[in-house]
């Protein structure tokens, strides 16, 4: 069964603005235009693959991928219960009225979709993941995961590019690419191995913190000590950087450019409480270091929730880069220490979220001190695992002093970015990066 593209076009605007992956809620949607319309399955339930161009009030255009499904309106399907957000609406077809909906919520169509883009993979069962950001993920047989890109960008998707590059040079601690679906150089969807029995690093860190806060023991003495895991995570991180250098090359680091960009971000910061001169001084220290180490393709948005513990050790996910940056920025090489900084910042957030879980515990000085100790202890272990990895010194500043200067600058820059983000979205959390900044500034004053 099929419908007219024009009928679909009338349903799309309301649908688009309701999606979490829409990501343009601050712009006025001036109109939509269907730029691709292919019927992949004629019989009920029907499957139509659609690309739609959304034109905004400022004349910019974004292209979205929206596979839609059709079922007779009088058949109520259980999988549609509670999925109001995924409904486009009713249309008339030659076979009677039909319901139009996001095809990926329909198990039958999700299977049909995979058969279309990865015909060699026999699959039987499907499960959607309850996370929607810039893409939609579906798990097949607990063995494969398909990631469908929603808002399409010109040029290669960084996650696809980096994952394929790492697989090519034999880095196995990623969700391995199985099939990539692209047209005209644009990545539309990828199919990868699903990391079975995996736990997000973020969850594992919170498990550790609950034990520390619950037992009120020093993190090194508590049963849930996270340091050995953090040490192994540091090793895998270093191995990832070495493989990234293999896959995408390494050039000499450019500390002046790093510093310029940090200073520019600082001057845009809305946080009045910041000691801007002290921070700028830490950035400027970059300009005078002897050896900045290498610039390589990096993860770019590295934190605990991008890692997964499995029976085969740590895995690293989601190489999209920092989502707030434009595509070209995200693909630019930088110091591997920027990823290290990202992870170290993540440890502080984990300690704070663990405290926040305990309600009034934020006022409990003993617990606060334990949280700090946990962050320090885990950070030390992560750094040890990272810096002790064989070969990683080829990518890093030669002296420990330069290494710390670069790392501190990136930690500060990350925290300054976080302050801006928190003030805009979650002001009550801004305290966390603010505290980190003052800690770093104090320690650099010695």
């Amino acid at each position: 069964m099929t419908i007219e593209p024009a009928d679909l076009a009338t349903l799309l605007p309301d649908f688009l603005v309701r999606q979490r992956w829409y990501g343009a809620s601050d712009l006025e949607l001036a109109g939509v235009e269907i730029s691709a319309f292919e019927v992949w399955r004629e019989e009920w339930p029907s499957l139509i693959w659609v690309l739609v161009d959304a034109r905004f009030g400022d004349d910019t255009v974004a292209r979205f991928q929206v596979p839609v499904g059709l079922r007779p309106l009088d058949q109520t399907e259980r999988f549609l219960e509670g999925k109001g957000r995924s409904m486009l609406g009713d249309v008339d077809t030659p076979d009677g009225p039909a319901l139009v909906y996001d095809a990926l919520v329909d198990p039958e169509l999700a299977l049909a979709f995979l058969r279309q883009i990865a015909p060699d993979e026999p699959v039987e069962r499907v499960r959607s993941l309850n996370v929607e950001q810039s893409n939609t993920s579906v798990v097949y047989d607990e063995r494969l995961i398909m990631k469908l890109f929603r808002r399409l960008a010109e040029g290669p998707n960084p996650d696809v590019e980096v994952t394929e590059g790492l697989a090519r040079v034999g880095f196995t601690h990623i969700s391995a690419p199985v099939a990539t679906w692209r047209r005209d150089g644009i990545d539309l969807a990828v199919v990868r191995t699903f990391l079975e029995a995996g736990t997000e690093g973020w969850q594992l860190a919170l498990t550790s913190l609950r034990d520390v806060y619950g037992s009120r023991l020093d993190p090194a003495e508590s049963g849930g000590d996270f340091a050995p895991e953090a040490c192994r995570l540091g090793q895998i991180t270093a191995e990832m950087h070495l493989k990234l250098a293999d896959a995408f090359g390494a050039t000499d680091g450019e500390p002046k450019i790093w510093a310029d960009s940090m200073v520019a971000n600082l001057s845009r910061s809305r946080a009045r409480a910041l000691d801007a001169p002290a921070i700028a001084a830490a950035y400027d220290a970059l300009r005078s270091i002897g050896d900045p180490g290498k610039s390589i393709r990096i993860h770019g948005d590295y934190h605990l929730a991008q890692t997964m513990r499995t029976d085969a050790g740590w895995f690293i996910l989601d190489f999209e880069g920092e989502p707030a940056l434009p595509l070209e920025e995200r693909r630019k090489p930088s110091s591997p220490l920027r990823d290290v900084a990202g992870m170290l910042r993540s440890f502080q957030y984990a300690a704070e979220v663990g405290l926040a879980e305990r309600g009034g515990a934020a006022e409990d000085d003993e617990l606060r001190a334990l949280g700090l100790r946990w962050e320090q202890h885990v950070s030390d272990a992560f750094r040890q695992g990272y810096f002790d990895t064989e070969g990683i010194d080829t990518l890093l500043p030669a002296t420990e002093r330069d290494r710390e200067t670069v790392l501190n600058a990136f930690i500060l820059a990350k925290a300054v970015y976080e302050i801006g983000y928190e003030l805009a979205h979650r002001p009550e959390w801004a305290r966390i990066p603010l505290e980190a900044v003052s800690r770093l500034v104090d320690s650099s004053r010695g």
Partner: protein, 558 residues
Amino acid sequence: MGGPIDFNDSRWFQRAVFYEVLVRGFNDATGDGTGDLKGLTEKLDYLEWLGVDCLWLLPFYQSPLRDGGYDISDFFTVLPAYGDVKDAANLIDEAHRRGMRIIADLVMNHTSDQHPWFQESRQSRDGEKSDWYVWSDDDTRYSEARIIFVDTETSNWTFDPVREQYYWHRFFHHQPDLNFDNPAVQDAMLDVVRFWLDMGLDGFRLDAVPYLFERDGSNGENLPETHDYLKRVRQTVDAEFPGRVLLAEANQWPADVVEYFGEDDECHMCFHFPLMPRMFMAVRREQRYPITEILAQTPAIPEGCQWGIFLRNHDELTLEMVTDEERDYMYTEYAQDPLMRRNIGIARRLFPLIDNDRRIAELFYALLFSMPGSPVMYYGDEIGMGDNIYLGDRDGVRTPMQWTPDRNAGFSKADFAQLYLPPLMDPVYGYQAVNVEGETRNPSSFLHWLRRMLAVRREHPVMGVGALEVLSTENPSVLAYLRRSAGESGKEDIVLCVNNLSRFAQPVELMIPQLAGKIPVETLGRVPFPAIGELPYFVTLPPYGFYWFTLHEPGLDQ
């Protein structure tokens, strides 16, 4: 339980629960302060009531007892303090009458230096037994073999002033290694095997098997010659005593241990050593990865074989098998954890290791009874006995079994001073608080709980023979897995096990759409749970909680 044994069942060990007994410490029938075979025989009714399938006896042979009886000075004689060969035969018969089997420790690698074989061998360089041990004019050969007891031995060679030559020993210097290159030694050991199997023993736990042979330029462990000889032992057993079992103690990494199964033509069973410390670590870390990681690294074994798994035994919590694995998990974990480090090299019992927390003890047994392998319990752990670390060496976990709150824990009528070791008397673990009599009378005791678990496990042979499938869950504190095997009537036998390794209550969503439509029924209470659907199956667990579910077709229970 009870009833005669089916001696045609050659795979019995795959479903059996083993119980490790220290004869010296179990029950003293003669009143001399030391446990004996007669005393053990008196307690068979208790072991039958408990529900164990096979006893494993620590060495009971003639010995100077410089290494807990592992230094044997006559393979054909029982240590007089334990009784005589007639007592052993009677014990075996009585156990069989109650449906229980018995295996015993056998040390093939070495003997005591008091053994007549060694005494004859040291007398001359060209006598009949001169080549029964490994002699050398200097102490430099086989230098690549590590010294196992580094605390007490400085070399694997010791000079014998009588023969004026060095003899080879992988363990203590008073335990010379037999020379298995000598066919006469190989035959003599087979005669030992025949002697005891002929009496009715159901098999052996083979002590320290990796070290039988020595070769230049090798570390002397797991040599092909060793495997060849073990295959010969197996052939002898299969041909002359079908249905008996060989259980190897090879304290090695699982990938190396599987060599001892051969192609089901070597040992029937091997101990799985790394699983035990990792179970402790998983509960300490409140996450499943220490366990699932080692399970993922454990190779498949031949169909007719089985792992032996345990929580504690008569030895210390050992890290022997991981010292060479530099990047290994346990090395990193232990090196950084003061509490675990303290316990290395110290023999502890289960309950003191877990601070006497009954919830953790129940979780540990739930894990032990549902993991792939045949569980081996240690005497006294079923009542939650403690240890006495001040007794030194490994005696701390070898104190007398605590039967009653009466004198000497009901273990012996001897004078207290005459006991081989004092029973525990501290207020928490002492025999007045922890004993079989008290726990038998208290229906909510740990002993009764354990007995119920053994009964439930017996109903589900899949726990012994089924494949293991770890389920994907996002909550790291929850370890969930399926045990499944083709059932007897062709219907698949499945048990779903869900364990909370955390001291906090935990939720978990299990991804088991392949089981949609089935009704989980909890095995201890037979309570049906909501049917499994296409969506993730949601279960909540109390602290250290666990469930074993059998899976039923809907409608069967109405």
